[in-house]
Symmetry: C2
Subunit: 475 residues, 2 copies
Amino acid sequence: MNAPQDSAQLLPQIAPRPVPQPLIDALSARFGAQCSTALAVREQHGRDESPFTTVPPPAAVVFAESTRDVADAVRLASEHAVPVIPWGVGSSLEGHVLAVQGGISIDVGRMDRVLSVNADDLTVTVQPGITRKALNDAVKDTGLFFPIDPGADASIGGMTATRASGTNAVRYGTMRENVLALEVVTASGEVIRTGTHARKSSAGYDLTRLMVGSEGTLGIFTEITVRLYPLPEAVSAAICSFPSVEAAVRTVIQTIQLGVPIARVELIDANSVRGVNRHSKLNLREAPLLLMEFHGSPAGVKEQAETVQEIASEHGGADFEWADTPEERTRLWTARHNAYFAAVQSRPGCRCITTDTCVPISRLADALLDSVAEADASGISYFLVGHVGDGNFHMGYLIDPDDPQERALAEQLNHQLVRRALRLGGTCTGEHGVGVHKMDFLAEEAGAGAIEMMRAIKRALDPKNILNPGKIFLL
Amino acid sequence: MNAPQDSAQLLPQIAPRPVPQPLIDALSARFGAQCSTALAVREQHGRDESPFTTVPPPAAVVFAESTRDVADAVRLASEHAVPVIPWGVGSSLEGHVLAVQGGISIDVGRMDRVLSVNADDLTVTVQPGITRKALNDAVKDTGLFFPIDPGADASIGGMTATRASGTNAVRYGTMRENVLALEVVTASGEVIRTGTHARKSSAGYDLTRLMVGSEGTLGIFTEITVRLYPLPEAVSAAICSFPSVEAAVRTVIQTIQLGVPIARVELIDANSVRGVNRHSKLNLREAPLLLMEFHGSPAGVKEQAETVQEIASEHGGADFEWADTPEERTRLWTARHNAYFAAVQSRPGCRCITTDTCVPISRLADALLDSVAEADASGISYFLVGHVGDGNFHMGYLIDPDDPQERALAEQLNHQLVRRALRLGGTCTGEHGVGVHKMDFLAEEAGAGAIEMMRAIKRALDPKNILNPGKIFLL
């Protein structure tokens, strides 16, 4: 981890709280070998996929193996008013797991079991440490699948905490729509349950939805019940290349406005295609591409594809290239999921500052094209990928972390892009979360009154401010 | 309004807070003719469609015409620590608008404008007083529609406050999934905004979802942005009769488990059919019926209908009777929406105690059939309707409000039904809300820890407990 000298400047400046030795002793006594203070372990839990680093890493790491373990760790930390930071697999792009105010890390990675598959109800209850791929492996014999797929093989706990989505959200929704119920350890170490296994409910405050996207600041998830979906009878995937990003985007806007129930529609620009081709040994045309997938009955899939093909051709799209076998489709979507890593690897030693705005679909062209033009004009290295059916896209600015000018340029472009999205009625983050770096954007987006309401909720549920402090907003 | 002597016993026993004359004077000075203390007006705002009544009605009614009006009324009430109760059209079935702890009513019925139709984004922003039918009338030239349809022509504000749904929820979701953004007057009379017009967001706590279903206890909505959907290219509705409720329910369970994207699938029992036939001058077969609707392309609709027809015939369902023209469909669904009123009118002078449990789809037969058997065995007058695709059904017990034994019997059946639903992993209320009468059920369902979390949020956002107190839980 070669942290650039100035990375700390990107983080809110609040001194870490001390972690007293009696807490470490108590954790060691309670957890034995499940508690580590080894520097390598701490450092591993002190960083994620974000370009932000922090000094110091957490003072200790507890490897929880049960709800009881999590509750006990939180209770001990609460007694000493010491921050606790939940850890899944560390794939956050926004610094969610960094110990910016000190504290201990609670690693739930060993809590990775499927607790019950309720195939008849199209739900599954899991522990938070299971990853999305492991979850899908576990249910693959049921004829059902879990559609939410951020780029990384993230943990379900982390995905719940960041209200994650991915390529299937245009049809299946995000974690907001797909988490039904939770078991949560609160700031005092109490264990509560939110929601039920019913599909809908009007029973009191929607604590489940309040917890989803709370980034570890309101509770630590120990059980998560999510919806599953029948594997579609027919699946067709296709690639279509376009003469410009604009042509691709206009195709998507029209598809969504017509209500075509497309399952996936992803934009990748020529820069991303180059990275993906190199990384995944593909031969995709180096042009703006839409990667699409259609789910349904054989006839329904055919109908959808014909409609979109017609729209695409109006915008100069080339013929669809079909990925017909499961193997071809897996190859295609794996390549898409690797776009981020492919791009980052295209410039050795670089770090990536990733934008995540999401705008109403009618404003997508405005939001995206101006941002591309600004990036082109600036000369920065970048790539563009997007869950464009949702109005969500990511510019990845590839910077030399040791070059303050590059970093400043990326930040400036990012600011312009976010401001534009907010002007267009959008949000600063569609799926990555606020973390440590988007607090100012959130304040601008939500307004003082809404932020104060969030703070009031946080103070009420976590009076000692020990649950992942320094994320989303400062108290 | 002939309140039964014992109706107050159903309500939590907290003495109404006094409404001081200086507040009435201040409201009159600020609002002039928009503020009424006439008994008839107050009484009208002191009851709803629930079997509960309260003495006294609110001390005054403010007819708000703008966000500013709502904010000013709340601010004045806050100065005197007096409860404020938002009012839409009074169609609540759970006593939401009753002044159980005294206070003033804020009627937002005059705030019924469509503020902006964003057809290209499939959203519309409205004031809270507009009803669901008026909203659909307002957007009908756009080729879009708003699908959420509780039985009554409720206000969008009330539907947001109760997390309402209806017959289309099985395909289009509930208010939880369909409210994108809100303008809210807080307990201090401040105006905040939650959410954006983007389809998804990970920007901080999900205040929108916290407000949806909060039953007026966390804020008063003054603007609501909801999703719209393209009118389906093809629509087909059908009725199918079954030899038993069980056969109908098993057809539904299999349909949902297969992932058929059915738009509506409603169960009405023979009792309901009789009421509906009489009320709506129809000649439906007096047997358990499923009323269904399919949305999609012509080919898609045909496919769905064939699949369901096959499942139905396996369970002894009769041939589908099709409602092919828009007029026939409207007649059918109007009859369904009137089932509640038709049943209530079938026994002059009766009141209806309506259950609202929702269970995981695989447990629907268990939940529903045992409840029907208990009602049959008890000899009570009842009817059964259900949004069965969601696992949600309503038993309506028709009681003589002046007969304590009938009331006690209905309450006993209701308790057994709810307990059963909770045992089966369900919820005590799928769409009506908790209001004044389901607090004990909610406490049982959510558990002490979750209720305490709800209370903590309420205390944090409404420290004087003036926003619709005495609903959901007692502080």
